[in-house]
């Protein structure tokens, strides 16, 4: 069993790493032209939020999801709070589901990311492009959403591994076997 001071320090390191990952993902997601194929470009913030949610508990996961969502709201110029609420709900739900029902592997995580991203991108498309009634938006949906989901899901495995590593490395040893 570790001392309280050692536990606090390891928690600080772990969440410090998560925050660094958050900044790195924000930057990667917004670099002009980075990994861009046509209109599609991978999303990094959502997979990161989900990875932290499944590696931590539902409370921390949901809060971290809200922060990731706020960052995404800011960088994408969306109404502040919309993506934050969405990611918070998704992180909470996925964390609970992973604790109760799911066996988590990299493949499962990639599939979950793909499903979640499809929901988020489709709702964004609905609110920001379909409802205002812009013409030819189906073409935009086809050119942007599927490829973005595939690229993000593939890259999400790396994020999942990184978060799992941090979570395991700085795990609190409470003496329970």
């Amino acid at each position: 069993m570790e001392s309280r001071r050692k536990r606090r320090r390891s928690q600080l390191y772990k969440w410090g790493l998560y925050v660094l990952l958050l900044l790195a993902c924000t930057v990667l997601q917004t670099i002009p032209g980075f990994l861009q194929f046509g209109q599609a470009k991978p999303v990094f913030l959502l997979p990161l939020a989900l990875a932290v949610a499944v590696c931590e508990d539902e409370f921390s996961g949901a809060l971290f999801g809200a922060v990731c969502g706020l960052m995404w709201d800011y960088t994408a110029g969306r109404t502040v709070g919309l993506l934050a609420l969405t990611l918070m709900g998704l992180s909470f739900g996925l964390s609970v589901a992973s604790q109760l029902y799911l066996k988590l592997t990299s493949t499962n995580f990639a599939l979950l990311t793909a499903g979640s991203l499809w929901l988020v991108l489709s709702s964004d498309f609905l609110f920001y492009y379909a409802m205002p009634g812009y013409s030819n938006m189906l073409e935009r949906y086809i050119a942007y959403v599927p490829l973005t989901i595939v690229m993000s899901a593939l890259l999400s495995v790396l994020l999942y591994r990184a978060v799992s590593w941090a979570s395991e490395t700085f795990k609190i040893d409470n003496g329970v076997i």
């Binding site: 900044l23 790195a24 924000t26 930057v27 990667l28 997601q29 917004t30 670099i31 002009p32 032209g33 980075f34 861009q36 209109q39 599609a40 470009k41 991978p42 999303v43 539902e58 409370f59 949901a62 809060l63 809200a66 706020l70 960052m71 995404w72 800011y74 960088t75 994408a76 110029g77 969306r78 109404t79 502040v80 709070g81 919309l82 934050a84 609420l85 918070m88 709900g89 909470f92 609970v96 604790q99 109760l100 991108l121 964004d124 920001y128 492009y129 205002p132 812009y134 013409s135 030819n136 938006m137 073409e139 935009r140 050119a143 942007y144 973005t148």
Partner: protein, 276 residues
Amino acid sequence: MKDFFETWKFRILIAVAVFLAGLMAYAAANGRLTAAPQELLSVAAAPFQKVASLVGGGISSVWDKYTSIDETMAENESLKEENAELRRQMVDYDKMKAENEAFKNLAGIQEDNPEMSFVSAFVIGRDGLDAFGGFTLDKGTAQGVERGDTVIDDEGQLLGTVIEADLTSCRVLTILHPSFNAAGVVSRTRDNGILTGDASYAAQGQCIFTDLSRESMASVGDEVITTGLGGVYPPDLLVGRIVSIEPEASGTSVIAVIQPDADVLGVKQAFIITDY
């Protein structure tokens, strides 16, 4: 799990959700949220975005060179020919230069508008969610940038307008966005219209010029510039060239599809007109 819903943690999550919903309602009612939380996010993210955009620019430049070597060689050949042609034109240019001295005051935006103040900025962020090419620049209110300022490229061609200015960065609404509206005029025929974006053309980097009279003599290749009417955008900024003219759905006017002179979807450096 059932117990979780009775804990203080669950109550905190509900409180956070209510706070976010309130934030969203406030932001939706007041345009965007230009307040402390957003400024904090921008201050935290902008320096990292700035560095990453420099690194990213280098990487994509090397990758582009590698993937388009054949294209580059062909381009090189055509540039050589073009160079030879330009040398011949230089002789004519020297002659015309003397004549153009008289029109010196008309050349260049700065010379035409000495009262204009510019802030040079680099593009540090583009998010894939924006289908209309909106981007983030690395200058904000600390450098005198304000919402509504006009953004042009390094050749004085219109890119868009600042829709949100934080302390160290600002977001730009491009001329490809349907929410963008500016009074414009066809340079040759002096026909007036409204410059705006259209979802059908945004992916090709094109915008449209609406409310053009059916009797207009404007044709493909004509240059469109801003009029300055309304006082929102400075006059005589270059916008782009007409690539096609199509009838409007109502039939009362025609629409000109414009290929902007500026590379709206790929621009890396811009100038913000802070005063004119």
